[in-house]
């Protein structure tokens, strides 16, 4: 009886969610259509719709037919006084009777006082206010200072972690930030953030985090760009993150990038326990470098090397690992290829693999893409296997805004020996202005 009541409640919740989803979907598209077509709110509307469908066998060898619809849009008025962002995702599998809806973005930004005050509200993927980019349901206010070279702001809201098939958990979050960019051909960019966060399962232990970041481009030989980012947990005194790096450009055809990082996270950090805390019980150190050279306008090569070291078990058992990757990219007028090789070594095992992607433009409206990957892995569980994946698709461009892909995949692994899939993709891209 209790189980039936729970099922009934879940069905009712699902129906209500679908109704809300449908209403929001129609409303936001209609609103943006009206805004874009109104002569009194001239601006730029950018909209992308992506529809994905696949017919395949699942891991249980039963047929499944997942369908996804992602719709993202941005409207910006000509004077930039009004900006609206929206993004939703809808999923349905009629074979399995599954469906889902997610509202990723729905936010509005308005310049209340020209060149001085900006207010914003809604659900946003925040890259400006919060210490780490995350989804927030928030209200915020920002202020320009010093001839718009400086900006300060404050915000309050709920941090969301949107995941599969679950109601979005949240944490109360608020903070302030300040940033400054010098007016120079080689500017200095500095930013500081302070954030307060309270989790529902630990209301008596709020988290206080501060972040300081710097970026400076230097003129002269090699045109170096220097970066520094730090994040400190003020209530525990733990240095969450410290990253330093530099990008060099010895010639116009060569770039060289280096990064050094230390990272630590405790199980109580975040709305959910961080994935990091599953594998590491202490501080991680990482060093990486990448070099890329354009041998000719059509041929580019890249190589990268990374080393990581972290605490596997307390008190002082550490593990390390390396990552090596190499890429070769060749692009002609009608043909293109990207070849990649990778090697991973860690406490979990070794991986050796290669990947080839191929593109051929048949005419202005039709092109062919294909790819294949072969991976051999040796896991700590003594499993030694290989996996193959391959795909091919025909891509049609029509009516100036649509792109349709029809193709298939063949994959083989120890999970499914013969995995055949049919895949369809329809993209509509609109850039419209009034």
């Amino acid at each position: 009886m209790a189980r039936e009541n729970k099922t009934t409640r879940e069905n009712k919740t699902t129906r209500e969610s679908k109704t809300a989803a449908f209403t929001i979907f129609v409303s936001l598209v209609g609103l943006q259509t009206l805004l874009a077509s109104s002569s009194c709110v001239a601006g730029l509307l950018r909209m992308e719709s992506e529809t994905l469908s696949s017919l395949r066998e699942g891991d249980d060898l039963e047929l499944e037919f997942p369908n996804y619809e992602f719709l993202g849009a941005n409207y910006l008025s000509d004077a930039s006084e009004l900006e609206i962002n929206a993004d939703i995702g809808v999923f349905g599998d009629p074979r399995r009777g599954r469906s889902d809806f997610n509202l990723y973005l729905l936010d509005l930004t308005y310049i209340a006082v020209p060149d001085r005050v900006v207010i914003s509200a809604g659900r946003k993927f925040d890259v400006r206010h919060s210490v780490r980019s995350t989804t927030l349901d928030t209200v915020a206010a920002d202020f320009w200072l010093l001839e718009k070279q400086a900006r300060i702001g404050t915000y309050y809201g709920k941090e969301r972690r949107i995941e599969l098939n679950r109601s979005s958990p949240s944490a109360e979050i608020m903070g302030v930030y300040a940033q400054y960019r010098s007016s120079s051909v080689v500017p200095l960019f500095a930013r500081g953030r302070f954030q307060y966060r309270k989790y529902p399962n630990t209301p008596d232990r709020p988290q206080y985090v501060a972040q300081i970041s710097l970026e400076k481009t230097l003129s002269g030989k090699w045109s170096p760009e220097l970066l520094l980012d730090s994040e400190l947990n003020l209530d525990t005194g733990r240095l969450n993150r410290l990253e330093a790096g530099s990008d060099f450009y010895p010639t116009t055809d060569t770039s060289f990038r280096t990064r050094a990082l230390t990272y630590d996270a405790a199980p109580e950090d975040g709305i959910e326990h961080p994935i990091f805390s599953i594998f590491s019980l202490g501080r991680l150190y990482e060093a990486s470098a990448q070099i890329e050279h354009r041998f000719s306008p059509r041929f580019t090569g890249s190589a990268s090397l990374g080393y990581d070291n972290y605490v596997l078990q307390l008190p002082d058992s550490r593990q390390d690992g390396i990552r090596i990757e190499a890429d070769l990219k060749w692009a002609m007028r009608y043909w293109s290829t990207l070849t990649s090789f990778y090697l991973l070594n860690s406490f979990g095992g070794n991986v050796y693999g290669g990947r080839l992607q191929f593109g051929h433009r048949l005419n202005d409206h039709l092109d062919l893409t294909s790819g294949a990957e072969l991976t051999y892995y040796e896991k700590i569980t003594s499993s030694r296997r290989s996996a193959i994946s391959s795909n091919a698709a025909l891509n049609f461009r029509f009516l100036n805004r649509f792109r349709f892909s029809a193709g298939g995949e063949f994959n083989s692994s120890n999970i499914v020996r013969h995995d055949w899939r049919a895949v369809g993709r329809l993209v509509y891209l609109l850039w419209a202005e009034s």
Partner: protein, 199 residues
């Protein structure tokens, strides 16, 4: 399936309606050149000499030699004449819109002004540092829906972030760089598979 079917049908219909309705109200959706969009009427309130090598006689409205001519105009590439106002931090230019897509109003035009570091093969996997430090600079060209596409959206059809084989060896990768998964995932995502759910 019903919600997806209705949603797709109405969505495409509305999107096509954007084009149709917008055209009826002056919304341009036709081909653009690779150059930036420029509205001369909007700029007529400024001195002609700011961009041109002549002045305008206020009585006859004819072009005349400009005594204040700045020979720097001759040496500047076209884009620097635009950028003098639209990429300047000086207070006299603060009203000029600074976002790139103010003028670069189509994907082709925006691609021509892509920063050098975006052309790196490895940029997609290494943009996090710059985004964390100066993420709002990205918004000069990008919209946040593009961040959401990789970081938040979930689908097991497109191979946007991981290849199909990654499922087989992700345990090795996770034990190599355990901090990197958190850019997009939470423990719930792991539990969804490892506790009997679907990926």
């Amino acid at each position: 399936m019903t919600i997806v079917g209705i949603g797709k049908t109405l969505g495409i219909a509305f999107l096509v309606a954007c084009t149709t309705v917008g055209n009826a109200h002056g919304l341009e959706t036709g081909d653009h050149s690779d150059h930036a969009l420029f509205d001369h009427a909007l700029h007529e309130k400024f001195e002609c000499a700011g961009c041109h090598n002549f002045a305008v006689d206020p009585k006859t409205r004819k072009a005349i030699p400009n005594e204040k001519i700045r020979d720097t105009i001759f040496r500047k590439p076209l884009k620097e004449i635009c950028h003098e106002c639209h990429r300047s931090a000086e207070v006299r230019y603060e009203a000029a819109p600074k976002t790139c897509y103010t003028c670069h109003r189509n994907v082709e035009s925006l691609n021509t002004i892509k920063p050098e570091n975006h052309r790196n093969i490895g940029w997609r996997g290494s943009h996090s540092t710059e985004a964390r430090i100066a993420g709002d600079t990205c918004m000069n060209c990008h919209m946040t829906a593009q961040c959401v596409k990789c970081h938040t959206q979930r689908n097991d059809i497109s191979l946007r972030n991981h290849t199909r084989n990654f499922r087989m060896y992700h345990s090795v990768q996770a034990r190599l760089q355990p901090h990197r998964c958190e850019a997009c995932h939470t423990q719930s995502y792991c539990a969804n598979c490892h506790l009997g759910g679907r990926p």
